[in-house]
Amino acid sequence: MVLPMFWKKGKWIFFIIAVCVLLTVAHNTGLERNKLTFLEVWLRDMLAPLESGATAVLSGVRGIGGYFAGYQDMVQERDKLIKEVADLKEEVNSLKEAGLENARLRKLLMMKENMEPDWEVLPAKVIGRDTENWYHSIIINKGMADGLEKDMVVINYDGLVGRIIALTQNTAEVLLLLDRGGAVGCLVQLSRTPGVVEGQGSGKMLRMVHFPHDADIQENQIVLTSGLGGIYPAGLRIGYITKIEVEPNGLMKQAEVKPFVDFDRLEEVLVLTKPKNEVSVP
């Protein structure tokens, strides 16, 4: 080993003396000295131009520190901006939503104004849909407390939506026209050909059945409620005919009707609560 050899040779005395000498010198050459030694002056003078040149050339490297410090600031600023962008996006989104809602409500208002001479109407919001696939119904946020009753007719700005089939104090379940149980007496607007419109159980189309083989109906003609059946008032828009075919028995015809109402996007509806004046449901 090196250390024991060092000690063995007795050099430790030299070592201790050297340490003592160095400490003494260091002690006596503290911070403030009156005169530098020749060697120190020479060294400093030799290094001075080198240091000055290096400082000038490498001053750009000082930017490294600034770069990293700036990097931290940038990260913070980026995080702040990301948050701000998210907030603004949310705001834009909610404004868009408000704009769309505004447009829908305007249409609904127009519909309400159209219906108001004959009917008392109550606007309601759709708050839920049927959780099962077997029925087509929606839940609205008005119920018995608002004066709603079973079999009241529900419409929106596009036309007939359905009728109320169940009520709670604050909600009502509306059976949509799409449901097989929601058959409506109807007629073709132009030819006044009567029939019945019913849901097909699945899909988004309705079927108009039971009209005579020789009835004068064509595609794209509008189908309205006929007022027959005691629930739905006459004249409400249902949809338009897209396809006409002969029923399997060969005696009657049936037609496929595309409803005006987009049942997938129902948000606001109007409930026809009470007829006004002399209007009466047949």
């Binding site: 160095l22 400490l23 290094l47």
Partner: protein, 163 residues
């Protein structure tokens, strides 16, 4: 050639150390200490001692304060780190990292110890140890980048030429 490169490296280290501000961390890498520690690592305690003496002397003369303190601390650090020289595999990259980390800590400790004896005003407390720890970590990170060129020069033929 060896001596020329050695002194040139010392001058470059001093110039770099006094010219560049690294990372605004409040600590400067001690290239001269790194030179002592790597020399000791490659050649053993007596080279560590000798290199420590020369570099310490130059540093003392340049700083012009408490002359002898750097000689003492660098010599001792070089000597003690050099004691590990026969036992380690120098081509492992972890060796310079550990060497610089331990060596820097050791040097810091020696500087505080002898500095307090000769009258350097040291503000004792947690901060001073944290500062040494930061420097040791910093040297540890720098180690592979400095050691590779250092080792290549050290083993190169022209470095070992007599003339």
């Amino acid at each position: 050639m060896r001596y020329f490169v050695f002194f040139a490296t010392i001058i470059i280290s001093i110039v770099l150390q006094s010219s560049i501000s690294f990372f605004n961390l409040g600590i400067q890498p001690d290239f001269l200490l790194i030179l002592v520690l790597f020399s000791a690592l490659l050649e053993g305690p007596f080279t560590g001692l000798k290199v420590g003496f020369v570099i310490g002397l130059v540093e003392d003369l340049v700083t012009g304060k408490f002359i002898g303190i750097h000689i003492l601390t660098k010599m001792l650090a070089g000597y003690l780190i050099g004691l590990g020289e026969p036992k380690i595999f120098k081509e492992n990259y972890l060796v310079p990292v550990v060497t610089l980390f331990i060596g820097t800590f050791l040097h810091g400790f020696l500087f505080l110890f002898f500095g307090s004896i000769v009258g350097i005003d040291i503000s004792w407390g947690k901060d001073i140890w944290v500062r040494i720890l930061y420097l040791a970590l910093f040297h540890g990170v720098l180690a592979p980048f400095v050691y590779v060129p250092f080792y290549k020069i050290y083993v190169s033929k022209w470095f070992n030429k007599d003339s």
